[in-house]
């Protein structure tokens, strides 16, 4: 027997639940990103030395501040699940939107895979037991978090808030435990970073370091995926995103300072656990264990947020029939996109078991940078089609078009840096997006209900 209406359903539709506030938006954005402080950013030191890692920390920080500002303005106006996908659909067009949604799904799923591998490897490294593999820990990470996401967005992001806060506080505790105001007692920055070794490969090393400098902040734009589930999108999204960005800039600076003051750049650039190693090097078992636990929690928070975001992007594609509408089902009790969560679960597991960490990270970064490039073009078109005063904006970012230009230029530099390190993957990924675009244009788009996909109650754009 099938049921057509049920008391848990509001009205005659089942939609995502609006239960989130600014703290959840912060937890989603910072939760996805913070793992980058525990591993990833430090490979920038391998590319260009410790000083290069600091230079890209600030320059890439500028890139992401632009991302956060631009995203806050557009998302506070286009408040729909799918985030940048919904923005692209309304502002640029369906083909761009389809590509952006795929960037999102790839970026978040590959990041989730990387997080699960990191968590498994960290436990195996701590255990030191012969024959113990990371597979069981990877499976548990992905399945338990998928289950949490399946059961509801409020609990998912409450959990993310708690574990992200613990991981963040552990960085603050480490920072103040090593007497950061005194050099020579624990920290030895002036001995480890000298004029002779600060930039061992010169300025080309700084350019190359951009590839991993992205890790300081990769994923903060994921806050927009919560747009359809926050109680007040116009207020919560800009507030949560900008607060998240400020939090991350502080965490990145503290992380670099402590790690570069405790480890030579040759080691810092190759370790998988810079903060955990920093905890060990202080000689305090308490700090060592705290940073071990914090590394695990940061990886969990990131994977949790990634499952949330990838599922919403996939769900949005189904809802507009860019993919079969079967994916757009919402659970009538938990009010989550349960089929999208379940569909992406075995894909993440498969990649986690067969892919190598570096490959997964590179695919995630590439998709992320493609998305940021789109955002710089998107905001120019948005302001041109709907100038200030023509539609209501929850937030208006300052200095337009400077952030868009800075973002675009930094994306070009980052593409060049990725090309230096992973040229073949970059070409393969661009070829993939080109082929899938052909499939969408010539085959799939005929299933889309063209009038239904544009949902924002906006006036006609200027020039149309």
């Amino acid at each position: 027997m099938t049921i057509t209406l049920e008391p848990t359903i509001h009205g005659d539709r089942v939609s995502l639940l609006r239960v989130l506030g600014p703290a959840h938006v912060w937890a989603l954005g910072v939760g996805i990103v913070l793992v980058g402080e525990f591993t990833g950013w430090n490979f920038a030191a391998d590319k260009g030395g410790a000083l290069a890692a600091l230079i890209v920390c600030w320059i890439v920080g500028l890139l992401y501040t632009s991302v956060a500002m631009i995203d806050s303005e557009v998302t506070s106006t286009v408040a729909a699940a799918g985030g940048q996908y919904a923005q692209a659909k309304h502002i640029v067009g369906p083909l761009m939107a389809f590509n952006v949604a795929l960037f999102l799904v790839f970026a978040y799923t590959m990041l989730e895979v990387s997080d699960a591998i990191l968590l498994g490897d960290t436990i195996v490294a701590k255990a030191g037991v012969e024959g113990l593999t990371h597979n069981s820990f990877i499976a548990a990470t992905i399945v338990v978090l998928a289950w949490l996401n399946y059961r509801g967005v409020l609990m998912t992001l409450n959990v993310n808030f708690v574990i992200t806060a613990i991981a963040y506080i552990s960085i603050v505790i480490l920072f103040f435990s090593v007497s950061p105001w005194t050099q020579g007692a624990v920290l030895k920055l002036n001995e480890l970073v000298t004029p002779g070794n600060a930039l061992p490969y010169g300025w080309i090393g700084v350019i190359a370091a951009f590839q991993f400098g992205i890790w300081y902040y990769l994923g903060i734009e994921g806050t927009t995926q919560a747009a359809e589930e926050v109680r007040s999108p116009a207020r919560s999204l800009p507030y949560g995103t900008m607060a998240g960005m400020i939090t991350l800039l502080i965490a990145a600076a503290m992380t670099w300072y402590v790690c570069a003051s405790l480890m030579p750049w040759e080691y810092l650039g190759i370790t998988y656990y810079p903060l955990w190693d920093a905890g060990k090097l202080t000689g305090s078992p308490l700090l060592e264990n705290l940073l071990f636990v914090a590394t695990l929690l940061a990886a969990l928070a990131s994977a949790n947020g990634c499952i949330n975001d990838a599922a919403r992007a996939w769900f949005s594609l189904g809802r507009d029939r860019y993919l079969p509408s079967w994916f757009s089902a919402v659970h009538p009790k938990y009010r989550t996109p349960y089929r999208s969560i379940l569909f992406l679960l075995p894909i993440a597991l498969a990649f986690a078991f067969i892919a190598d960490l570096n490959q997964a990270i590179t695919f995630s970064i590439l998709s992320g940078v493609l998305q940021y490039t789109f955002m710089s073009i998107n905001i120019i078109m948005f302001r041109k089609k709907w100038p200030l005063g023509s539609i209501r904006r929850g937030y208006t970012h300052p200095f337009h078009p400077l952030p868009a230009i800075v973002l675009f230029c930094l994306c070009v530099v980052t593409f060049f840096a990725i090309f230096l390190g992973f040229g073949s993957q970059l070409i393969a990924m661009v070829a993939f997006y080109f082929l899938i675009s052909l499939w969408f244009h010539f085959y799939r788009y005929k299933f889309v209900r063209r009038g239904d996909q544009f949902t924002m109650p906006w006036p006609k754009p200027q020039g149309y």
Partner: protein
């Protein structure tokens, strides 16, 4: 201890995966496809916001 934890992880993963499959089957056989896929983008905004500058 770590080996036992590893087995526990496999066990938890299998149990939760089976629970999700069961719940998926239950929901899909209880509700019609029209109800499950009835969510519409921007619906709340269209109803609640007058959109005046």
């Amino acid at each position: 201890m770590w080996v036992a934890l590893s087995y526990a992880c496999w066990g938890i993963s299998i149990v939760l995966a089976l629970w999700m499959l069961y719940d998926w089957f239950k929901v899909d056989t209880t509700y019609t496809e029209d109800v499950l896929t009835s969510s519409r983008e921007g619906e709340l905004e269209a109803v609640s916001e007058k959109h005046r500058i």
